[in-house]
């Protein structure tokens, strides 16, 4: 094996790629115009998200890529309705989103779910992880199911993320490793089957192999329920692998967007080019001198 011509890491069986591109013609699911978020005031003012426009279609897989502090998480929290929007409008299923009362908010939250960036702070450390999963079953109206049925559901959800429920039951979150916590957060999604999923760095602590499994099942779930998937990630490889559309975010603005192939393989903006250049690679030299 020559050093210049290393083996591809795995043989490529071409039959299964990412699922066929669906949803292009489908109706708009979530969109926004001039969405802006301003934190603080006076000298500490931060423009975290700066007049972004977007249009996410039903069943589409979207990736938002950008460096630290570019406002990805802030945008996600606005989409989730967890923080207020300073300026601009968000439309949900074609209509202006109305989450003015807590009842309307709860109604909205029935459609949208999230995986948060930091698994360590996503758990209530005072409740066992069974509660997290049982809660999801309750949300789907399954609180009256017999116990065995619930356990079966939970076991199945865990198996999608390479976890064994029997091993986790009765544990507290701090008894899990970071990756296990993160995977359990993803397991929730398999129980909830939401219309929209916003996943903020969902696989940052998961090994490559489990990541492949999980992505596989997430894509199956998308096909099954027509879920719109919004990935927020630093992992450009992942963004390229899973998404239909990629948005590149810099300092609160979308600087480039388009189909994954167009953005990643033929980047137009210098910022995108720099990001791509900084990705550690295995077939090319990774140049450390550029930072």
């Amino acid at each position: 094996m020559s050093m210049n011509e290393p083996l591809r890491p795995s043989a490529p069986p071409p039959q299964v790629g990412p699922p066929p591109q669906v949803g292009r013609e489908k109706q708009t699911c979530l969109s926004g115009t001039g969405v802006t978020k301003l934190f603080g005031f006076g000298r500490t003012k931060t423009l975290a998200v700066d007049h972004v426009d977007f249009n996410f279609h039903e069943g589409e897989v979207i990736s938002i890529v950008g460096e630290s502090g570019s406002g990805k998480t802030t945008l996600a929290k606005m989409l989730l309705g967890l923080i207020s929007v300073t300026e601009g409008d968000i439309y949900f299923q074609g209509q202006k989103r109305d989450i003015s009362s807590s009842r309307k908010k709860q109604e909205y939250w029935k459609n949208i779910q999230a995986i948060f960036q930091d698994p360590f702070s996503s758990y209530n450390i005072f409740s066992k992880i069974d509660d997290v999963l049982l809660d999801c079953i309750r949300m789907r109206g399954g609180q009256r199911l017999p116990k065995e049925e619930k356990v079966k559901l939970m076991t199945e959800a865990c198996s999608f993320v390479n976890l064994k429920f029997a091993e986790l039951t009765n544990k507290y979150p701090f008894e899990l490793s970071g990756g296990q916590m993160q995977r359990l957060m993803i397991a929730r999604i398999f129980l909830l089957k939401p219309k929209i999923l916003i996943a903020d760095e969902p696989t940052s602590m998961i090994d490559a192999c489990s990541r492949a499994t999980i992505l596989d099942y997430l894509m199956k779930l998308r096909d099954e329920v027509g879920m719109t998937l919004i990935f927020i990630t630093h992992d450009i490889g992942l963004a390229y692998y899973v998404s239909d559309t990629v948005f590149i975010m810099e300092k609160g603005k979308f600087v480039e967007s388009g189909s994954a192939d167009a953005v990643i393989l033929t980047p137009q903006q210098p910022y995108t080019k720099r990001l791509l250049n900084d990705v550690p690679k295995i077939y090319e030299e990774w140049d450390l001198s550029t930072v």
Binding site: N162, L275, T290
Partner: protein, 340 residues
Amino acid sequence: MGKVMLEVNDLTTKYITRYNEDVYAVDHVSLQVEEGKTLGIAGESGCGKSTLALSLMGYYFPPLYYTGGEIIIDGRSISGMKPDDVRRTILGTEIAYIPQAAMNALNPTRRVINFIEDVILAHDPTENKKFIYELARASFETLGLPPEVLQKYPVELSGGMKQRTVIAVSVILRPKVLIADEPSSALDVTSQKMVIKMLKNLMETGFIKSMIFITHELPLLYNVTDDIMVMYAGQIVERASAREAVFDPLHPYSKGLMGSIIVPESGLRDVKLTAIPGAPPNLKNPPAGCRFAERCKYVRAECRYTNVALYDAGPGRAYRCILSEKVLRDCYEHERAIAA
């Protein structure tokens, strides 16, 4: 062969859970890191990487307990030392550890300089603050961090800067071995690159002698490390040079792992990533025989009861499988042929 900075023989540690069950998260692990070298550790999440890192420091607190093995840092055995002695004389000066997600766990009400004071005072309670400040300033300058950072609160720093600060704080006492547990997994590629550059710089300037680097990001691991160790369910399943581990893995689990690497290159979208269904065995009562047997494509009947040792395969190379190197390679070749 360089001087061995860190040598670990048969280290075994366990968690004792609230139900008094033993979870053997590090099971008879042996490793060596030479001066000037970086050892990478990869493996399924939950396989015990962080626990191994924690155990390597020789400082155990509940629910983690030491059950056996030896840790030798630069010729000096630290197993069997009293916890207090370890804290005073080993942590920070001989070996330092940057925990997973450390940058998110910084106390937001304290300034960076306070963290440095903590580290130094834990080692030598008599140092005065002025001296510490000067020392901190000097070492921040060497590491290319602006000294103003010392007076800042963690929230005032960007992610990349925070992580580099954490590293600078950890190496302030110039430890011989640095263990970095996923130091860049929460960072964007540019910040990640800066962090890596800093770590490499630490090695070059002699701030640290050797490093252990834990990450899930295989391309990164490949670029940063000299040797790679793959762990599965508390055990080492393969050890090889970085190049061999990535391009020519032997153990079926490593093979699967390396088959899931994604890099943003054309054609990737048509590649089917290797996924290994199933979950790793319960560490409470691991199965007899090979721990990967349950999920292995090439499993044989004897795998399930033979206790598989780490099989030596050439210099610096070992793997834990009952199949011979040749058989394994044939299997992989065969599979590739079918796929193509």
